[in-house]
Amino acid sequence: MAEELSYTTEPAPKPTARDELEGLIETLSESGTLRALQGFTGQFAGVSGAALEHLTGPAGRRLIGSVALLAEVLSNVPAEKLEGVASGFGKGTERASEMLGKEPPGTLQVLKLARDPDVRRAMASILIILKSIGEGLGEGDRSRGQQDGIATSL
């Protein structure tokens, strides 16, 4: 005689972060990434030492400084303004490469090219950029002079 009985099921444990971690470890292992990582971490001191040695040398410092400066300058320039210059540069490089191995153009041909409105527009842009660079360099000199002054006064 078995009378009707109720029963509340215990929910099965949901997959935890630990389960996902296990999955990740397995994937890393199967793909070989884990082995590479192991090699890297095993040699961490050596690898990082070598990397730092390069980065703290004069060339490394220049690289870090230039990248940071470039990033700062680029972050101030709206991308759409750079687009025209960048795409023109790309196309120009392509066309210029077509001239590789050919006879260089004669002086007259160069002069003729210089009368092309697109060339004139580009040259004007370059000259404006050069002017700005010059101004920048001048400002750099002035500010360095001031800094030197401060340093001197200290």
Binding site: A2, S6, T9, A12
Partner: protein, 775 residues
């Protein structure tokens, strides 16, 4: 599923929005190239974490095959594939989205044993030892026939084979059955009486090839949606003729050139009348009958009473309609007859199935492409449950238990003598509990406390068992009466094979590991046999299939390596792997290779409407839920479409009783009552009611009777009368606005791709069909 697939698709909305804006901004400078490259890289990363597994749908008998994509235990999506033999790139809403139940919090995750008026969680060893001991003790005291087993049409062939082997080889009883008893056993019998195999005569390709299809008692568009889609296409695009007979007008009826709405329970009458008219006109296929069918004269005599006048009076159809149907069937070169539970769940279910088979024989519609009889199997593996021997009268491959010759290969393979007397079936098991001769029952995944007719009586009997074990994935209503409940696994967590309605054997692979604490059902059965002292050493389901293939000639060539990918085999399959999508091309599956007409008479339906219960009560499926709904009511999307059963009523009847959509009513029958809501529907005629069989609480089987077809004991679910009483409360309609029933299908004849194909400038694409898409 949403938000699970990609590495960033689960990001919080504001983050996701900003990321999208950033990408859009960057795209104007970078172009699409780098974005596509990033996307491809992400797709490759997804590939690494997403597992794609080919499986077979767990719901209906169409047997759609597809890939299921999973990430950990998350089920990401179902992706059909052009190579899937039954469905190609199609699925229905259940196969596509109906999988939440797999990760439901209500899954059973440990065995439980009834002790001191409650269920205790126990370890597997203890549960299996306890079950073995109790069953053994009962058999020792009362003999082998005091225990019985019910297999499931949701489990695999290999598991069904083990259930019947457990009954026969371990306990020595043929008391084993499955839910085909509730649905298509009459069809199996009707076909075995006439043509041999109790199975579909051909494949779904044959159905689509047929010049004419007639469907009796099946709302195929909701019960077998993908097959229905194929038929609808043939009708719409290729001019296939369609005749539908049903009590309700439904989507298939709307598409039919001829729609018959006979009086309830009278299909046999119009079928026999059509057959008689064909014979009277001399329209039968004489050549086919002379060569291949016996007993025409006996059949002709049996039809004498089925005149057009008699049929018109009894069915309510006009004589003209009957003549038109006869002419259509006799003149079509190829005809397929399809039917489902509207035919089988009657007192005369077996005879009606036989009548359909007779009619197809009369018109020469067996054994050639585009012809045959097609009882549409309801569950995904109800065909396999029967094929692999979960039957009280047949061993696997339909070897009769009473035949020494048929039993011998099994006795040789299993090394023991097997019982030769027929056992108990689902119905007689309940009777035997009532009589006190059946003491113990072992049920695998069958919700008989709800799906058997007159469910309250079944529940009362289950309470009387000395020992009751249930293998289930949820704590079902049936499990409430159990002494021990063993947690099995759903189809996504196991390997094995299913047989769909076309006898097609397909392989399903394990998409997810079994939920912790659960075991695939074949392992539970194997381990139980071991606890009972039998050395069952199957290491995988393919070991089981190899054993079956070694014994049953029909399955001799079924091997897992032949079922890889989307390969499939329609049994009979010879040793070399040649299968038989179309049966009876040369001969019928009978002793002399000939089919036989089997005369059948009409039996008046029972439980007819009277003064107290003035309306006929019909029942059936809805698209969004499967059967009683134990799985689909645990799927959020399906519940949003329909959250509970209801009763449909004709507008005139509703008006007369002062009822409106959403009104709460009490539906009463001589066997019980349920409280439910009214849906007003003009798909029914006045005097008829309809309730879906799916429900969380208000079960139509609280209203059905114990009356059953006397030949095969299938309950007469469709023969019931009821009354409706207004309760004076109203809620929103149980069918929400978002349900497709409230939609309007686009009345396009087709998208007319043929016109495009005919154009001079059209070229076939390099790959002929889409492969189902990529990540």
């Amino acid at each position: 599923m949403i938000g699970e697939a990609g590495h960033f698709t689960g990001a919080p909305k504001p983050v996701l929005r900003k990321s999208i804006d950033l990408v859009k901004y960057a795209e104007t400078f970078t172009g699409l190239g780098p974005l596509f490259a990033t996307s491809k890289a992400e797709a490759a990363m997804r590939d690494e974490t997403i597992k794609r597994t080919k499986t077979v749908c767990t719901y209906c008998g169409v047997g759609c095959a597809f890939e299921v994509w999973t990430k950990g235990r998350h089920i990401l999506k179902v992706q059909p594939h052009k190579d899937a033999p039954a469905n190609g790139i199609s699925t229905c809403v259940k196969g596509k989205f109906g999988w939440d139940f797999v990760n439901s919090d209500e899954r059973l995750v440990n065995p439980i044993i009834r002790r001191d008026g409650k269920f205790d969680m126990v370890e597997w060893d203890e549960a299996l030892e306890y079950t073995a001991k109790r069953l053994r003790a009962i058999v020792d005291e009362h003999g082998p026939d005091s225990v019985a087993f019910i297999s499931s049409s949701k489990i695999t062939n290999e598991e069904c084979y083990l259930v019947q082997k457990l009954a026969r080889a371990v306990f020595g009883t043929n008391n084993v059955d499955n839910c085909a008893r509730y649905c298509q056993s009459p069809a199996s019998k009707g076909l075995s009486r006439t043509v041999g195999y109790g199975a579909d005569a051909g494949s779904m390709d044959d159905i689509t090839k047929a010049e004419l299809v007639f469907i009796v008692g099946s709302n195929t568009a909701v019960s077998h949606p993908v097959l229905a889609a194929r038929i609808k296409r043939q009708v719409k695009v290729h001019g296939q003729r369609l005749i539908v007979s049903d009590l309700r007008s439904h989507e298939m009826a709307d598409r039919a050139q001829i729609f018959l709405q006979p009086n309830p329970g009278t299909d046999l009458v119009w079928i026999n009348a059509v057959a008689k008219y064909i014979l009277d006109q001399g329209w039968e296929d004489r050549d086919f009958i002379e060569r291949r069918v016996k007993d025409l004269e006996k059949y002709r005599d049996s039809l004498q009473k089925f005149t057009l006048e008699f049929a018109a009076a009894r069915t309510g159809l006009t004589k003209e309609t009957l003549k038109q149907v006869a002419k259509e069937i006799a003149s079509a070169k190829t005809v397929c007859g399809l039917w489902a539970m509207g035919v089988t769940q009657h007192m005369g279910g077996t005879d009606c199935c036989t009548a359909i088979s007779n009619l197809l024989l009369l018109t020469g519609n067996f054994g050639k492409p585009g012809t045959g009889a097609y009882p549409l199997r309801g569950h995904n593996n109800v065909q396999g449950s029967c094929d692999f021997g979960a039957l009280y009268n047949y061993l696997p491959g339909y070897a009769s238990v009473g035949s020494d010759e048929a039993r011998k290969p099994f006795e040789d393979a299993w090394g023991m003598k097997l019982p030769s007397a027929k056992g108990l079936n689902n119905k007689t098991m309940i009777d035997a509990i009532e009589e006190g001769t059946l003491k113990a029952l072992y049920v695998v995944g069958e919700e008989l406390a709800l799906v058997d007719s007159n469910a309250r009586r079944v529940q009362e009997q289950l309470e009387k068992l000395e020992f009751f074990a249930v293998q289930e994935i949820f704590f079902s209503t049936t499990a409430r009466f159990a002494d021990v409940v063993l947690p099995g696994t759903p189809s996504l967590e196991k390997e094995g094979t299913f047989v769909n309605t076309e006898r097609r054997v397909q392989l399903l692979n394990e998409a997810l590991p079994p939920l912790k604490g659960c075991r695939p059902d074949w392992k539970i059965l194997r381990d139980l046999a071991r606890h009972l002292g039998h050395d069952w050493n199957y290491e995988s389901p393919s070991d089981i299939m190899d054993e079956v293939a070694g014994i049953v000639p029909e399955f001799a060539g079924i091997r897992y390596d032949r079922l890889k990918g989307y390969n499939s085999l329609c049994w009979p399959v010879d040793k070399d792997g040649n299968d038989t999508p179309l049966l009876y091309e040369e001969k019928f599956h009978t002793a002399d290779g000939k089919a036989a007409f089997f005369p059948v008479d009409f039996a008046e339906p029972v439980n007819q409407p009277d003064e107290e219960y003035p309306q006929h009560l019909n029942n059936g499926r809805v698209l969004e839920h499967f059967h009683e709904g134990n799985m689909t009511f645990r799927v959020k999307g399906c519940v949003e479409k329909i959250h509970e059963a209801f009763v449909e009523m004709n507008p005139a009847d509703a008006n007369e009783q002062g009822l409106e959509e959403g009104d709460w009513v009490e539906v009463r029958s001589p066997f019980g009552k349920v409280t439910t809501q009214i849906v007003v529907s003009d798909s029914l005629r006045s005097g008829e009611l309809y309730m879906p069989i799916c429900s969380t609480e208000q079960r139509v089987n609280h209203l059905t009777s114990t009356k059953a077809d006397p030949v095969v004991d299938t309950p007469a679910y469709k023969e019931m009368s009821a009354s409706v009483k207004k309760l004076g409360r109203r809620s929103a309609s149980p069918i929400p606005k978002s349900n497709p029933r409230n939609g309007k299908p686009t009345p396009l004849r087709s998208v007319r791709v043929e016109d495009k194909w005919r154009r001079d400038d059209y070229h076939d694409p390099e790959t002929s069909r889409p492969d189902g898409g990529n990540v």
